[in-house]
């Protein structure tokens, strides 16, 4: 049985939102780059060849349960059996977020945002039922963490 690591690996959100000066400068720079790209009609995601700083090879966030479930949902929804969303729609939705959201949301936050948006666009979900369900989830959870149940 795998031992639980005693080293607390930060989540991607924790890394992104860390209040340290260096990290804030980093995010600010990325935000600026994304905005400049948009001014030139270049997608915020279209970053090949742009100036950027050193690569952070060390940070590797621990995947949260909900992130894994997002990934699984995309695989199932886009798979041959259902074909309800395409990866192209997923990517397009993420690209449409714009530089602020693109840089400030974590990888799977962008995914679930895009998936949900696509489901709303297609009328598979309505905002009304989504809102009611989210409120129910929050009150049910009552501050408790996600324990990975499905």
């Amino acid at each position: 049985m795998q031992q639980v690591s005693s080293i607390a690996v930060p989540t991607e959100n924790q890394i992104l939102r860390a209040g340290t000066g260096a990290r804030a400068v980093e995010l600010s720079r990325r935000l600026q780059s994304g905005s400049q790209q948009m001014e030139k009609g270049r997608g915020v995601h279209d970053m090949g060849g742009l100036e950027a700083g050193p690569i952070d090879r060390e940070s590797q966030h621990a995947f949260e349960w909900w992130e894994k479930r997002v990934d699984a949902m995309l695989v199932l929804l886009s798979g041959k059996d259902r074909q309800l969303i395409t990866v192209d729609e997923l990517r397009r939705g993420i690209e449409e977020l714009g530089p602020g959201a693109y840089e400030n949301l974590s990888y799977y936050e962008r995914w679930i945002h895009s998936i949900t948006h696509a489901l709303l666009e297609k009328g598979i979900l309505s905002s009304d039922e989504l809102g009611r369900k989210m409120a129910e989830v929050e009150s049910r959870a009552d501050g408790a963490p996600d324990r990975g149940e499905i």
């Binding site: 030139k40 279209d46 729609e89």
Partner: protein
């Protein structure tokens, strides 16, 4: 061009092509850094639906040929001073490629 279901690839392996330079809105899979650049078809990858249309819920037909195009890095980046033979390979959809008229003095 296609007749019925048969798709004929417009470009052959080894052919010189140039990437169109266009900046429309929408879901593009042609990176900005390669637009306007000239390269050589390294392989024909097959026929695929158009991601620009798939991204908006359409079925992406008619399918078109996808190519892997090889570019010399020194043709892509001004002042590229690493390996003279270094390359970048990019997958590009047929509608983004134009034939390069063969002129004397063309690089490689």
């Amino acid at each position: 061009m296609q007749t019925g279901r048969l798709i004929v690839a417009k470009f052959n392996v080894g052919e010189k092509v140039r990437v169109r330079d266009a900046h429309p809105m929408g879901h593009l899979r042609t990176p900005r850094y390669i637009m306007g650049k000239a390269g050589v078809v390294e392989r024909i990858c097959g026929e695929f639906g158009n991601p620009e249309d798939l991204a908006f819920g359409r079925d992406g037909t008619p399918k078109q040929s996808l190519y892997r195009v090889r570019f010399a890095q020194r043709d892509v980046w001004q002042g590229y001073d690493d390996g003279a033979a270094d390359t970048v390979d990019v997958e590009l959809y047929e509608h983004w490629l134009e034939p390069m008229a063969a002129k004397h003095g063309d690089a490689q």
